[in-house]
């Protein structure tokens, strides 16, 4: 499995996310933006006008963090799937729609699913 993928997936697990021996800051923040903060502010923004400053900052910050972590697009897809499953597993199937994340389509989806299998094997999903 690509190391970057491993690290992002690890963000969803308590121990690894909390491990100072891994330089996991950018990946954790990307995960936090993608799965928690961005959907939440988007929902607020849809109803109440004027959340543009937050929305713009979120996009900028995600780009910065992605630059920092140099996560490949394909790896992100695989890792996103796994983290989404964790959300569903932790909070119930009714939240599956919230676990859908906007990740651009990628041609290397075959490679991603290989990585996903590996991830699942390791995590015993």
């Amino acid at each position: 499995m690509p190391p970057s993928c491993r690290a992002l997936v690890d963000c969803s697990s308590s121990i690894a996310r909390f491990d100072r021996n891994q330089n996991s800051l950018p990946k954790c923040q990307i995960g936090f933006i993608n799965f928690i903060v961005q959907p939440y502010f988007k929902a607020l923004h849809q109803i109440f006008a004027g959340f543009d400053p937050f929305m713009q900052n979120l996009v900028c910050n995600r780009n910065y963090f992605e630059e920092m972590s140099e996560i490949a697009q394909g790896d992100r897809q695989a890792a996103s799937d796994v983290v989404s499953r964790h959300i569903v597993a932790a909070l119930g199937p009714e939240f599956s729609k919230f676990a859908d994340v906007d990740v651009p389509d990628d041609d290397s989806s075959d490679g991603s699913s290989d990585a996903l299998d590996e991830v699942e094997e390791i995590l015993d999903v």
Binding site: I36, Y40, A89
Partner: protein, 325 residues
């Protein structure tokens, strides 16, 4: 180093921030009481990497900013630039049957200031796993959030009924978490049961009618309990289902909507508990700030996570796949 404020500066900021609030000005809240309160809240926070008094102030300020945005006030104090609303959002507090009352607004800001008071730097999961007394007191449900709310109300209402929970959370600050010495910092010095005369007056709502305070109290408790990350998706769910239901009305905003439809929108909006939703938004807004601010907070929050991770490794706690904060 930016943001490197001493506790005195932070207390001064929080005080002058709340002092200017319409509620404080119009109801005659005494400066002495307000400053007692702010000092008590500041000393109730521990010196941990992230969930310190600084975080309380940061969230309070962000709540004020979000309320400003929601009220349709486009005077953008953060970025200094006014942007045209691009989305279909037309609903604001201004469309509400009445604008947010000054006393409710003040209560939200107070709740924001104290929403993480007494935070030990470890999360709910850790406290539950460790079978801490405080986790037992609250039956493992929103342990920290329950404690924050209780501590804040204890500061406001004084210490007379302190002995209701002799085991926790008030003895909690004395617990030691191994090498993480921030936790054993000074606790809340309010359970001075030796004499009521020495207790300082922090009751910032004493001068308003009791019934009104009871309502504000409910708002504050609800808001603080709503900061539990476990509630995140129910907040989000409330927002998205409201939007999905009324989206067609947003689409034809150019024409004036029939007032009956607007009444329905207003009614549904009133049924959403916006106060906890706003406080939660501010609580997770670190990564939605300008990048330097975001990085400052990121480093702090990761430092706190790492400190907990060290303790978890020490104690051989199992890997938990749950997405927790």
């Amino acid at each position: 180093m930016p943001f490197d404020f001493g506790v005195n500066e932070l207390v001064g900021f929080a005080f002058s921030f709340l002092q200017r609030e319409p509620f404080a000005v119009t109801t005659g809240l005494r400066n002495r009481v307000l400053s007692n309160f702010v000092v008590a809240v500041a000393s109730g926070y521990h010196d941990v990497a992230y969930h310190s008094f600084f975080h309380g102030i940061d969230v309070m300020q962000t709540v004020a900013y979000i309320l400003q945005l929601m009220a349709g006030d486009s005077d953008d104090v953060l970025s200094g630039k006014i942007s045209e609303p691009q989305s279909s959002g037309i609903l604001t507090f201004g469309l509400h049957s009445e604008p947010l009352p000054a006393n409710v607004r003040f209560a939200i800001l107070v709740a924001a200031l104290g929403h993480d008071i007494g935070h030990p730097g470890v999360n709910n999961l850790f406290l539950v796993r460790s079978r801490e007394a405080v986790a037992r007191t609250y039956n493992d449900v929103s342990v920290l959030e329950n404690m924050h709310a209780a501590l804040l109300l204890q500061i406001i209402e004084g210490s007379r009924r302190n002995n209701a929970f002799p085991d926790a959370p008030y003895s909690f600050a004395q617990h030691s978490y191994g090498s993480f010495d921030g936790v054993s910092a000074a606790g809340v010095k309010l359970d001075d049961s030796s004499g009521t005369s020495s207790v300082t007056d922090c009751h910032i709502f004493k001068h308003i009618p009791r019934k009104q305070y009871a309502e504000l109290r409910r708002h504050m408790v609800k808001a603080i309990l709503g900061t539990d990350m476990a509630k995140h998706f129910s907040h989000l769910n409330a927002l998205t289902s409201f939007y999905t239901k009324h989206e067609p009305k947003f689409q034809c905003r150019a024409e004036s909507e029939p007032s009956s439809q607007l009444t329905e929108v207003r009614r549904d909006l009133a049924n959403i508990h916006l106060i906890p939703i706003v406080l939660h938004a501010a609580d997770i807004s670190n990564v939605a700030k300008p990048f330097d601010v975001t990085m400052f907070h990121s480093v702090a929050v990761m430092e706190e996570f790492y400190a907990q991770g060290d303790l978890e490794r020490e104690r051989n706690y199992p890997v938990n796949p749950m997405y927790v904060l």
